[in-house]
């Protein structure tokens, strides 16, 4: 079961500031709800874990993350993540290409393309929800990422962002996730009516 996601997110900060967060995998992982880096096994190889709940299936995935490309001049990073959940009943992998591009008014834009593949129990039971969950996960990730970048700056906006980073839930908030999915569903529903 594959989910392909393409997301863009504008951040009111210079590209270099965003890139410094993007290229630090430890900080980057903290932006992902429920994820953390647990060790480094090579120059570009890490171990990590992430806990996710999709429908009735709650899983803690452990696995490896390999940074397959860092392009400093174009602010682009590629990584492959692979993992399986602790009970051995689900596997997941993700290929991600993320880049920081110059945005309007000195700001920047984070552009992410990812392909997530899920096998086993998570696909068996969460199949109908997985698109929505992945979408919400990435949206939360982008919001958290944006806050990290802004918090490194100065002024009131930075202080507010720092506050949000401090309050960021350490695990994926299931209720907020569900709400996000419902809003997303309603948007699609009414969106499609307008277009037809």
């Amino acid at each position: 079961m594959k989910v392909k996601l393409e997301k863009k997110h504008a951040i009111d900060a210079p590209p270099a500031a965003a890139w410094s967060v993007l290229r630090d995998l430890n900080v980057l992982a903290e932006c992902m709800p429920g994820a953390s880096i647990t060790g480094q096994t090579g120059d570009n190889e890490y171990t990590g874990k992430v806990s996710v709940k999709v429908g009735p299936v709650q899983s803690v995935f452990g696995g490896t993350i390999q940074v397959t490309g860092i392009d400093e001049s174009n602010y682009t990073m590629k990584l492959d993540a692979k993992g399986k959940d602790q009970s051995g009943t689900s596997n997941a992998s993700m290929q991600l290409t993320a880049s920081v591009q110059a945005g309007e008014g000195g700001g920047c834009e984070l552009v992410g393309n990812s392909e997530i593949k899920v096998m086993g129990k998570m696909a068996n039971f969460g199949g109908r929800m997985i698109d929505g969950v992945a979408d919400q996960l990435i949206s939360q990730f982008l919001a958290n990422f944006s806050d990290r970048v802004l918090a490194a700056g100065e002024g009131e906006a930075a202080a507010e962002a720092a506050q949000r980073v401090a309050e960021q839930p350490k695990e994926l908030n299931a209720l907020a996730l569900l709400w996000g999915m419902i809003i997303g569903f309603l948007r699609r529903l009414f969106g499609s009516k307008e277009s037809s």
């Binding site: 079961m1 594959k2 602790q86 039971f125 199949g127």
Partner: protein, 797 residues
């Protein structure tokens, strides 16, 4: 509905009585005794570690963390079974199947390791502790891609083998090719026919899905060297033979018991890895080992049904008279060919595909292929692929009708085998025993006011409403089967009955079949009651214990009444023959001077001189004149001379919401002709159940997979199971055309409604779009699928 004739008072409660089922007293009070109810002293529990991926190599298995878990006794892997040569096992279809993953996994949820622990909770915890490393391989889930040149090799054990169990293999994922009929003659008719039609018709992968999942308790007695296995089996004797062959334990020391079964529908015919692992576990540990499937395991790993991808072609004249039929089927059997057909029939009885029609020429080819999906291809409430065959011909008749602008009921009538043609030999070689199709169809059309319905449909169509009328007529071929062409693992498909009449006049009968809810304890007793004059309440029926019941091939393919019921009637007649001799001795007359009257032998011309069966039974255990042996019992092994051919006419009316695509069955009329009707109430119950299943299949069920081989319908969240909420009122009706070769003329009915129901509902849904030029829509006709059709045609604007 029972007719007045059927409600006639019968002093012994025999054939024709709508009697309440004897077994229901225990079932409705929760007093049934199912496999999972067993609690043997010292019993432990086994559970499987299963593959999360659909195709891959097993790089390593680390069972140490699981073994270290408190309460875990053993963890079995293929390596442990290898020394016993039990890491693979034969299937009923002539293939072999991995018991536990031997180097690779070929479908998601495949059995990888078997954990045995003190209870099922500890076992479930320990399953998660077994660490398995996999290396993924490319996956095939679509049968149409299985034989492409670059398709991955699913069965490496068969690589390079160009001969399979059923002849030549033309590709590494090919299982068999089965041809029937005259290809050249068929091609010739098609080349010159005035008119031809063709359609691609798939019958999706579904699951029999019994309420009770599969399971067993294996108990090995080391002192006696005896193995007792309690299990959910529709064919306990066959399992005993297979277990003896696999284990090397003499069959006399293998004792298989099938207790009460909560539905089988073909799912409980085969031998599963769980049975083998539980048996090995009990031998190794010396303790009883229980294994019970979860619902997810049942849906995802044990035998599925159908998954037939068919191309049908008809050649006809301008009046709609069919001249030839050509069919090609791609049959997806999953990773191992574990279908349960008579050995010589890799595609079962699919050659009944000419259906109820007098088609002069036909050719059918079935190619079986492997895929990365669960193994099987069982006969789900069906006599070995009859359902797929019937669906194909019933869809094709509609396609032809539409092409010619002839009414679907009319085109069927023009092509029916006529009553005077029976016994009728079809061009594909079957001898239909009896039938009167025109009468049945006429009765059905009048019952529903068919003309009125078509008129209403025309008015609705004019307003833009979607109303469909589905007409389906089916002929089944059941009661496998004659030993001249039917065997399983070399054992002829006979069935058996042993009757013992006790001194006080009651009786016990044991049979080689096995009820899974069909009501055998009631119907067999009715057959014997009529034959012997013993009240059916006084006749005990026992099945499922291989130590006491005579050998039989079990219950599936609607074979219980055609084969087991025939054995019961004939065993009773043997008993009656002896009773006649005893009665003659008692009254000092010649046996030839006696005639039978309900429950007694009466001396011809002296009606006051008689002996009841009760009196004869007592005499049978007393002093008898020389030449007569004590006792009143008999055994019959019945080898049917032919199959039986039940038939029926079904009509379904649907209304479709043109904005949501939801299909509502407004009316469903089912006329069944199953020959002599033994218990009309049980027949109606069977028809209701089968129709409800057919509704599930036609409107919602599918074992779906994504391109990586993840099963997307492994629970009732995603696999549609119809309940009382979705089920409409079923109208039942009947005609009676007895089978000329069956001892009491009965034909079997259990599977007919599933066979005919799916065609009727699917034809009704598609008929709702016929005026828009739609000739076919693939099942299941879910609201979403139907809405897509509506939307594509712009009918919801």
């Amino acid at each position: 509905m029972a007719t007045p004739a059927e409600q006639v008072q019968d002093p012994v409660g025999g054939v024709g009585c709508s009697r309440k089922r004897k077994e229901d007293a225990r079932f409705i009070q929760g007093k049934g005794n199912y496999t999972d109810d067993l609690k043997l002293p010292g019993q432990v529990f086994g559970a499987f570690v299963r593959s999360p991926i659909a195709h891959g190599r097993v790089v390593s298995i680390n069972k140490e963390p699981a073994l270290a878990h408190p309460g875990v006794f053993a963890v079995l892997t293929a390596e442990d079974l290898k020394p016993l040569n039990l890491h693979w096992m034969p299937t009923l279809a002539g293939d072999t199947q991995m018991v536990l993953a031997d180097g690779k996994v070929c479908f998601q949820q495949q059995e990888v390791a078997f954990v045995i622990a003190e209870d099922r909770y500890v076992a479930a915890d320990a399953v998660e502790l077994v660490e398995v490393e996999y290396e993924e391989l490319p996956v095939i889930t679509d049968a149409r891609q299985a034989m492409s040149a670059d398709a991955p090799v699913i069965r490496e054990d068969l690589e390079g083998k160009t001969e399979g169990a059923h002849g030549e293999r033309v590709h590494h994922n090919h299982i068999f090719r089965w041809d029937v009929g005259d290809a050249a003659a068929t091609d010739k008719v098609f080349a010159s026919a005035p008119l031809t039609v063709s359609e691609d018709i798939s019958y999706q992968r579904v699951h029999p899905c019994p309420l009770e999942t599969c399971g067993c308790v294996s108990d090995f007695d080391k002192i006696k060297g005896e193995l007792t296995v309690y299990l959910t089996s529709q064919a306990p004797h066959v399992v005993r033979t297979v277990v003896s062959m696999l284990s090397g334990i003499p069959e006399s020391k293998v004792h298989v018991i099938a207790p009460d079964i909560g539905g089988g529908f073909g799912n409980k015919v085969g031998v599963y890895p769980g049975y083998v692992c539980a048996i090995v576990g009990s031998i190794v540990l010396g303790r009883p080992v229980k294994w019970i499937e979860t619902r997810v395991e049942n849906l995802a790993a044990t035998a599925f049904a159908r998954d037939y991808h068919m191309r049908g072609e008809l050649a006809a004249d301008e009046e709609g008279r069919v001249q030839a039929l050509r069919v090609h089927v791609l049959a997806d059997h999953g990773a191992f060919d574990a279908c349960a057909d008579p050995s010589k029939f890799p595609a079962g009885l699919f050659s009944i595909v000419t259906g109820s029609y007098d088609i002069p020429t036909a050719f059918a080819r079935v190619d079986g292929v492997y895929s990365n999906k669960a193994p099987g291809g069982v006969a789900y409430r069906c006599s070995f692929r009859v359902t797929e065959a019937s669906y194909l011909i019933e869809r094709m008749m509609d396609v032809l009708a539409q092409k010619l602008g002839i009414d679907p009921a009319e085109i069927r009538s023009r092509n029916f085998i006529r009553a005077e043609q029976f016994p009728y030999t079809s061009c594909l070689g079957w001898e239909y025993d009896s039938g009167d199709y025109h009468t049945a169809m006429q009765q059905a059309l009048e019952a529903v006011d068919y003309e009125g319905l078509r008129k209403e449909q025309a008015e609705k169509r004019a307003k833009g409403d979607l109303m469909g009328i589905g007409v389906a007529f089916f002929t089944e071929i059941v009661g496998a089967g004659p030993t001249k062409n039917c065997d399983i693992l070399g054992i002829g498909m006979v069935d058996s009955c042993e009757i013992r009449v006790h001194p006080t006049g009651s009786a016990i009968a044991r049979l080689g079949t096995k009820s899974q809810g069909q009501g055998h304890e009631t119907t067999y007793a009715q057959i014997i009651a009529t034959e012997l004059g013993i009240p059916s309440d006084d006749i005990q029926i026992e099945e499922g214990d291989t130590a006491t019941a005579p050998y039989g091939l079990g219950t599936y393919g609607s074979r219980s009444t055609p084969v087991g019921g025939a054995a019961a009637a004939r065993a009773a007649r043997k008993v009656k023959d002896k009773a006649r001799k005893i009665a003659a001795a008692m009254m000092e007359v010649s046996p030839a001077d006696l005639e039978w009257d309900v429950d007694r032998f009466v001396v011809k011309s002296l009606p006051d001189q008689s002996r009841t069966i009760k009196e004869i039974a007592l005499a049978a255990y007393q002093h008898l004149p020389e030449g007569l042996e004590q006792g009143l019992e008999a055994v019959e092994y019945y080898d049917p001379p032919n199959f039986t051919y039940p038939f029926g006419a079904y009509i379904c009316v649907v209304d479709i919401d043109r904005f949501t695509g939801e299909v509502k069955i407004r009316r469903f009329y089912a006329l069944d002709d199953c020959g002599t009707r033994i218990n009309p109430m049980i027949i109606e119950g069977q028809v209701h159940g089968g129709l409800t299943e057919s509704l599930g299949i036609a409107l919602g069920q599918e074992l779906a997979f994504d391109e990586d081989g993840n099963i997307l319908s492994a629970s009732f969240m995603d696999y549609f199971m119809p309940t009382a909420v979705e089920t409409p009122h079923w109208e039942t009706d009947f005609t009676v055309t007895p089978s000329p070769h069956h001892p009491i003329g009965a034909k079997g009915v259990g599977e007919s409604p599933n066979v005919g129901g799916v065609s009727a509902i699917s034809n009704a849904v598609i008929d709702a779009f016929a005026h828009q030029g739609v000739t076919h829509m693939q099942m299941p006709h879910t609201a979403y699928a139907v809405w897509k059709q509506i939307n594509a045609l712009g009918l919801n604007k």
